[in-house]
């Protein structure tokens, strides 16, 4: 599939914005076009946050989308809100570590990944978003893992570069989990 309209949503602090930026950047590194559009506003402090990523071979016309082809729900309210907009046949990625209910849609592929648990295992709950990213890239093929690594390297340059190995490890673990489902 050459077109991806992705919504990534969760609580503020779960790293959904970064996840989206890496996907968008990686797609560009792979030679595709992309846009990343955040929900914004400091007034939303403590509320939910989400971003929309569109990846396309052609220049992206609309950065807003009606029916995402993929949704990543890092918490329950996000699953409810965006899961129901998901295109029939699309992917719904759910953070199974914190969401225990099921989405009632038979026409989409639901991928449950216990990302917090996996992240905890490799040593830091903070990289749960990277675990999800690994799984997402693995199954959607939205970008190559090389491009994802390059995008991440760019984001974590300078003082943050020490965090790179842990993040890459998390991505790898996420991808492995997704492959092994």
């Amino acid at each position: 599939m050459s077109y991806h309209g992705i919504v990534i949503a969760g609580f503020g602090g779960q790293g959904v914005m970064l996840m989206g930026q890496i996907i968008a950047a990686a797609a560009v590194i792979d030679g595709k076009n992309s846009t990343w559009l955040p929900s914004y506003g400091p007034e939303m402090r403590g509320g939910t946050a989400n971003c929309t990523v569109v990846v396309d071979e052609k220049p992206v016309a609309s950065p807003v989308i009606d029916t995402p082809t993929e949704v990543v729900a890092m918490n329950y309210p996000s699953m409810v809100k965006f899961g129901k907009k998901l295109k029939s046949g699309g992917f719904l990625f759910v953070n199974a570590s914190v969401v225990d209910q099921k989405m009632d849609r038979g026409d989409v592929k639901i991928i449950e990944i216990p990302v917090n648990d996996i992240a905890d295992k490799i040593g830091s709950g903070k990289v749960a978003n990277m675990v999800m990213l690994g799984a997402f890239v693995e199954l959607t093929k939205v970008a190559s893992f090389e491009a994802v690594e390059e995008a991440l390297r760019y984001k974590l340059s300078g003082s943050k570069s020490a965090l790179l190995p842990l993040n890459l490890e998390a991505i790898k673990k996420g991808a492995e989990y997704a492959r092994g489902r």
């Binding site: 400091p42 007034e43 402090r45 403590g46």
Partner: protein, 249 residues
């Protein structure tokens, strides 16, 4: 010994949950104001003017008539109200960007005219709502999103001292700088707020309380750390002090 409530929430709050970040001092100050409104028995005749800033929703948090003024103009809006309804109690609640930057002229002239108004001025040394930019009250050397190398006097000027500036004015009836970083500070702050309301109610003049407050989010500290930072740094630049007291006891 009978069971009774020693401390409970004031009824002049609407009960809506505050939208502030965890540990943000805005909430403490809201509660103190509501307690004073309760204690003075003025809930039914009080009108609040909220600012644009993190406390933009404050007009929803108090169970009194209210509005939100354009950024910086709360004291002009309040002046309009008070001139229309001189027997009501009108107060503004304003941040340091609101009151000490864009609203400077309105602040100075309301104070100087001696408008019978009460202003609670939250000095948290930063623009909270818009994401942590420099405020007029940002300390020298302090890093913010628009002073990434720390505030430098040469380029960015010096911290503005609103209370010192207003203390020169005849129209001011009560003026004090407080903080709410310890229980004792909170008790003092409440006394100050009471007097700032009495300055209005007794028709003496303009009352203002500057509250040195934390913004844990934009300071990048835990709420407890932020209080400590405030007590160690902000009170040096902005000493706690009664500047004007024409209210008496």
């Amino acid at each position: 010994m009978e069971t009774k409530i020693a401390f409970g929430g004031p009824k002049s709050l609407s009960g809506k949950e505050f939208t502030y970040c965890p540990g943000c001092h805005h909430g403490i100050v809201h509660r103190l104001i509501a307690e004073i409104i309760d204690e003075l028995g003025i809930q039914g005749k009080t009108i609040m003017v909220a600012p644009v800033g993190c406390s933009v929703f404050a007009y929803e948090f108090f169970d009194v008539d209210g509005t939100v003024a354009p950024h910086g103009r709360a004291l002009a809006v309040a002046t309009g109200m008070k001139r229309a309804l001189p027997d009501r109690v009108v107060f503004t609640y304003q941040g340091d960007g609101d009151l000490a930057a864009i609203g400077t002229a309105e602040t100075v002239h309301a104070a100087n005219r001696g408008e019978k108004l009460t202003t609670i001025f939250i000095n948290n040394a930063v623009y909270g709502m818009t994401g942590g930019q420099m405020a007029p009250t940002t300390l020298l050397g302090q890093k913010t999103t628009t002073t990434p190398y720390g505030r430098r006097a040469k380029n960015d000027g010096y911290p503005v001292h609103i209370s010192e500036m207003l203390s020169t004015m005849v129209g001011v009836a009560y003026l004090e700088r407080v903080t709410v970083s310890t229980p004792q500070d909170i008790r003092n702050a409440k006394k100050a707020i009471r007097k700032a309301f009495l300055a209005q109610i007794k028709n003496i003049g303009f009352g203002l309380v500057e509250v040195l407050s934390t913004c844990p989010t934009n300071w990048g500290m835990s709420p407890v750390e932020a209080q400590r930072w405030l007590l160690e740094n902000m009170t040096k630049e902005f000493p706690l002090k009664v500047f004007v007291d024409k209210v008496g006891d």
